[in-house]
């Protein structure tokens, strides 16, 4: 049976650490003069991105190529989904074409879980499902923080996730990861994009998760801030009166960070809306790890592709077997 990476929700801590350790190894590969290893020679990896994406798709493609896999990119406008074919049929066609791994981004939450129940030979990697999970981004954020904080990464951190939590798959994957690690999670955003019921047990079942509607209170004393991208179209659903209104309340400026959590590092999944969720000087300033995340991203995706296709090098217990 094919192994999948559907999300971080059902990970064990050992699995998470195993992914991060493997990714660390591939960081080393990425620093070599010749960045290519033959691990995935003969494997075909299909990047099916049914939502616009540049950085994630490119990152996956580079990762696959560094592992010597053959890669094929299909975007929404090229795919048969555009001709009215349903997602399951498209996916099963790709399976019949002997794709080893299907890296899929899809606008519907749960799409990958649904597909995984129908695929036997092709591994699915979730490159973002609707407003649910973005597990590789979660892993990137984890590895970035582990590299910065060392042992404190294992339960000693307080992390603020700031912005449109309601619609953020990055937020959810980070919540699931840091819940496993025991880090304190502060969710920060306006009540329209961060309902109070997020703290309830039946949501994330994590007592170290709190909800804050004030930026100052939310980031007070935190070690790291994960800023979320503010989608430009959110004002259509009345979630914010305007982007200007949003940034008046939640834009991460150097002044506010200096006053509340001077030592905090900043992470952002990109692309950054400068001046909306993060001020320009912060986005690429000294506390920013945004570019570092992009570099680590390739290593993380190499690790994911490697672990799903090459089996159990380092005693991987269960990678969401299905």
């Amino acid at each position: 049976m094919a192994k999948h990476l559907l999300g971080l929700e059902n990970f064990t801590k050992a699995e998470l650490v195993n992914y991060l350790d493997n990714a660390e190894g591939f960081v080393e590969v990425s620093s070599r003069e010749i960045k290519k290893v033959p691990s995935l020679r003969g494997k075909t990896i299909v990047n099916l991105f049914l939502e616009p994406s540049t950085r994630t798709r490119t990152s996956f493609e580079i990762a696959a190529k560094r592992l010597s896999a053959d890669t094929i990119n299909i975007s929404g406008s090229d795919s048969s989904v555009n001709k009215g074919e349903n997602l399951l049929d498209t996916t099963q066609t790709l399976e019949a074409l002997a794709a080893s791994v299907l890296v899929l981004r899809h606008r519907e939450s749960g799409a990958h879980r649904f597909l995984a129940t129908h695929l036997k030979n092709t591994s699915i990697v979730n490159a973002g499902d609707g407003t649910h999970e973005h597990p590789t981004q979660g892993l990137i954020d984890c590895l970035t923080l582990r590299q910065i904080y060392g042992d404190r990464f294992y339960g000693g951190l307080t992390i603020a996730i700031v912005g449109d939590v309601l619609h953020s798959r990055v937020a959810r994957s980070n919540i699931f990861a840091h819940r496993l690690l025991g880090n304190k999670i502060r969710l920060v955003g306006p009540p329209t994009l961060l309902p109070d019921y997020y703290v309830e047990k039946s949501a994330f079942d994590y007592p170290n998760l709190t909800v804050h509607h004030s930026l100052k209170d939310g980031i007070e004393g935190v070690d790291a801030i994960i800023a979320l991208r503010m989608q430009l179209e959110r004002q259509d659903g009345f979630f914010v009166p305007s982007l200007k209104e949003y940034s008046k309340n939640f834009c991460l400026t150097e002044n506010i960070i200096k006053a509340t959590c001077p030592k905090a590092v900043l992470l952002h999944p990109g692309p950054v809306n400068r001046g909306v969720e993060v001020a320009s000087d912060v986005a690429y300033g000294t506390r920013s790890y945004v570019n570092r995340q992009v570099t680590i991203g390739i290593a993380v995706r190499m690790a994911v592709l490697f672990l799903l296709t090459s089996g159990t090098k380092e005693k991987l217990t269960t990678v969401n077997e299905s």
Binding site: E9, L87, L88, G110, R113, G130, T131, H132, A203, F204
Partner: protein, 436 residues
């Protein structure tokens, strides 16, 4: 044809009678009821031994979708009628959201004609309130009523125009018909796929908040108060809506409501990992809502159980969660799911039959829901304790979209009589049985 039903426990909420009696049917009427052994069985064409069984007025469902005309691959009047009688139902009311919408006498007559041809359950069409259920102009309500519509509804398409709703209520009152309301402010549910709750937070699914239902219930209560017309609230799913209805009843407002078995049994946690068989509108709610609905069942605010039997074929359910159609089938599982509440002593057997038959008859003014002498012989004979597994091979609907597939059920309709003729015998369709 003369039929004798002997030794059964008669449960008739319309007369508050619960005792072991014999009942005779002559033609399409209940002829008389006598003490056990009061009839000579030789004088009857057929005798049904109901020893250990319940003899109750045939069940009535105020809310089904038979998809005909327009979506015959999902369900037809024929397949839906089979599911009805096998589930113990003698009368079902089908919603007008077909293609074309049942907003003309032609569509109404078509459904009634089909139903007569199939000759199983009584299928009573519900007419659209507005043309095309678009909420812009009133449908020809008198024409529809005269053609045989039992009630009116724009089910699935809430009536936002309060002015149209008001005039519709007034017109329907003149016609002696009720408006049945699917309460949902779609400005609040926009794009939603499940209950807005901590569970939707975890799954990252767009939510349908309870308040979307509550605001519309509140409005329609006020319209009912102002116009002194009756409003029937479909598939109540929230604690707050139920509370609003309870208070409205206390205030003397003419309002009734129905609830589905799935909203009494399942919570939003049953959406599990994006299980489209648990996707319906209104969505499965929180545990607090379920507890409140059960309390409404117990203390009497709920007038009727309705299935909202909504068949959807495999292709429209075997897709991503947000894309999947809303709705599940229910006709074959309503009875055991409600009898569960008799077994756990939430309600009495009498109350169960009331909400499954007599209550719904009263809500729409349907001829039925009673075992009085002289009444129509629409009767269900139930084995309340028989255990069975609800397998997909038992589903006679054309669609198999139920979250209860594979679940153990207790209680079944052994025999069903509609209009004095046997439709179900020993738990199987009578017509197919005698063919064998």
């Amino acid at each position: 044809m003369k039929i004798l039903i002997k030794d059964g426990l008669l449960i008739d909420p319309s007369t508050n009678r619960e005792e072991i009696c014999d009942l005779s049917i002559h033609g399409n009427r209940i002829e008389s009821i006598r003490k056990k052994g009061g009839f000579e069985s030789e004088k009857f064409d057929t005798t049904i031994d109901a020893d250990g069984l319940w003899v109750v007025p045939g069940l009535i469902d105020l809310h089904v979708h038979f998809r005909e005309p327009g979506f015959e691959k999902k369900e037809t009047v024929e397949s839906g009628s089979k599911a009805s009688v096998l589930g113990g139902y003698t009368t079902v009311c089908c919603m007008p959201n077909t293609v074309p919408v049942n907003d003309t006498a032609i569509v109404t007559s078509y459904i009634l004609e089909k139903s007569r041809e199939i000759n199983l359950a009584r299928v009573l069409p519900i007419g659209a309130v507005s043309k095309g259920s678009l909420g812009k102009e009133l449908a020809p309500l008198t024409e529809l009523r005269e053609a045989g519509c039992i009630a009116f509804s724009d089910d699935g398409e809430p009536i936002y125009d309060s002015g149209l709703m008001r005039r519709a209520l007034e017109w329907c009152k003149m016609l002696g018909a009720v408006i049945s309301c699917h309460e949902e402010d779609k400005c609040l549910t926009r794009g939603g796929a499940m209950n807005e709750s901590p569970v939707s937070a975890r799954l990252g699914l767009p939510g349908m908040p309870t308040v979307a239902e509550d605001v519309m219930v509140a409005r329609d209560i006020e319209l009912a108060r102002y116009t002194k017309c009756r409003v029937h609230i479909c598939h109540v799913s929230t604690a707050r809506s139920l509370e609003l209805i309870r208070r409205a009843k206390y205030d003397g407002i003419d309002i009734t409501c129905e609830v589905t078995p799935h909203h009494l049994h399942l919570t939003d946690e049953d959406v599990g990992e994006y299980d489209t068989k648990s996707k319906m509108s209104p969505p499965l709610r929180s545990e607090e809502d379920v507890i409140a609905l059960r309390e409404g069942l117990r203390e009497g605010t709920i007038d009727a159980i309705a299935s909202d039997h909504a068949p959807h074929d495999h292709d429209t359910k075997c897709v991503e969660f947000c894309k999947a159609s809303f709705g599940i089938i229910g006709l074959q599982t309503n009875l055991p799911l409600i009898l569960d509440f008799v077994r756990d002593r939430t309600i009495s057997a009498m109350r169960a039959i009331d909400i499954l038959s007599t209550g719904p008859a009263k809500v729409f003014g349907i001829n039925g829901g009673t075992l009085k002498e002289g009444a129509l012989a629409d009767i269900a004979i139930l084995d309340p304790d028989k255990e069975w597994i609800f397998g997909s091979d038992q589903i006679v609907s054309k669609s198999k979209n139920s979250p209860f597939i594979g679940k153990s059920m207790k209680g079944v309709a052994e025999h069903v009589i509609v209009d004095g003729s046997i439709k179900v015998s020993d738990g199987a369709l009578y017509a197919e049985k005698i063919k064998r």
